[in-house]
Symmetry: none
Amino acid sequence: VINIKTILGKNDFIESLRGKDATFILSMSTTKTCEIDGLTQAGLPGLIPLTPTLDAEFLTTGEVRSLIDIATTPTGVPTPALITRGVHLLKPFQSIYLNNLGIDTIPNIEHFQINNFNIKPSDSIADNANIDAFEIFEKGVDYGKSLQVDTEYIILAESVPAGTTTAYATAKALGYNVDGKFSSSFQSVPNEIKNKTIQQALNTISDQDDIFEILGKVSDNMLIFNAGFLLGSSYHNQKILLAGGTQMAAVLLIVDAMIKHMQGIYDSSNIALCTTSWIYNDSHSDIKSLLEMVGFNVNAYCTDFTFENASHPALKLYDQGEAKEGVGAGAALVYGALNGLKQNDLIVQIESLLG
Amino acid sequence: VINIKTILGKNDFIESLRGKDATFILSMSTTKTCEIDGLTQAGLPGLIPLTPTLDAEFLTTGEVRSLIDIATTPTGVPTPALITRGVHLLKPFQSIYLNNLGIDTIPNIEHFQINNFNIKPSDSIADNANIDAFEIFEKGVDYGKSLQVDTEYIILAESVPAGTTTAYATAKALGYNVDGKFSSSFQSVPNEIKNKTIQQALNTISDQDDIFEILGKVSDNMLIFNAGFLLGSSYHNQKILLAGGTQMAAVLLIVDAMIKHMQGIYDSSNIALCTTSWIYNDSHSDIKSLLEMVGFNVNAYCTDFTFENASHPALKLYDQGEAKEGVGAGAALVYGALNGLKQNDLIVQIESLLG
């Protein structure tokens, strides 16, 4: 079987979800930040903004319709959507919803719910992301308040190329001391480009900017919308697994900053962050430390799933620190673990997807 | 795992049902056509009209109460209900309903919903089936309009001995050029008896007969009722998997003929046909070609499940072309595939049912 490890908090919350159905929501968003050369390897060179579209198509249908091959990185690391799709084939999610939070190309699929929030892709944070952060945040709150699912919990995932860079800039701009704590899709983190971009982003902020003005300049739609979504969902105690690594930690830091800003209270007992062991064990980032900066308690989990017993060389790269997380891979593994999925069955399934 | 193949259309519809619960409805009907010697091997010699009753008992309880043994064909091919029951034991349907569309013997079971529509078994099409087709059709429409299930979709299956003969006669009488396209429960199709019966059926029709008069003479209750059921269900966009091979294709051809007759429009986006690989790969019939004759688009699927890895000789006969389909076996396999069922686990389960 796949075992669940507790990163922070206790295992009660996740154990209470064992055997229960889940609704999987993929937040798709692009930021022009991803077009900065060498910043991300989440996608095909020249076609990085297409990554959320391809991930959504592959997750739902097993086909990459807006392109010929599954999005792979230059060194041949396949998208983490492979892991999520593999889990879905063996232990299906009850429903998959796709949230369009600003993408260039709508996924070419029918019969799946693609929610349109009239959000445009954001600009590069190196200049100014030009996001109406208050509007995006309010859309997230409204969605969280109104969303009714017929499962016990939601797995809230993301596909946002260059998303760790915007997450890092966001947390730093909000005043959190997060240097060295954010992840990257690279094993060899491109620190120089990344730090330069983040510094440029911070330079766009002035002392007079309020929290929404800051977010509008240095963040991305996924982070802002989902912070609102968490707050909106808390009105009806919706259980949510934040499916991701340091980007989802940044969502929590935005919620934390909002709560402090508004002097409010947030009941975090219905949420948990779930990520991969590659993030948890990453020596270049520190998910646990990020979560400890959040002013409320957060349960966080990962699994012991690795590709140690895989034979396909592309999968071995995960164990060397490439890709690490995305498209809800870590939470999908937790979901698999909660439903009795075996490590080797999943590896066989994922390898069969690679052909 | 069991993999799903797309026969016609795209895989979006079936992928959108992955992980979702299903209601299984078995349409039970007999036509005296089945008493024509050598026409069908769907049941025990001399007791063929009992087949739907036995299939229903075995599907729901695992016991054949109105007889000692599971209905087997003369060469020892067991009923496809074995496959459906095997799937139900490993990945249960949320509910099983039994629709009595004219059978001689009510299944001897309690606690399951047996819906009585006051329909009598039909006569042999060689003389005149003597069905009040308009009444049966209207009953189907009413049932489709009123039926509320608490699952995302319905699997609509059938058990009608000699049903491929009545289906063939029906499609031909409605003017479709279907020679050589209809299946048989035999590997060695009894063409002479079958063609003679169909010719006799066509001889009962006169030029003045309208569509209902034609159906009343050459069709069977299951085909007519379920054509109405599909039309009635479309009023509330009920998702339905037509669980069968060429008989279910004939249901669609009746709907097609009705729509053309009434100059109406039918939204087929909520239905799909699911059958077995034995039907899809059958060289004596052509399910795909039948579906292409339908004037609206139909998604159709099968799986890659076979008994290649089975050890029981009775099951091997399926791979040689005996039995092929029935009691929703093909759609049950699709349902299993949508819920992570493994080929070998199912084979072991089915073999244990054979004892």
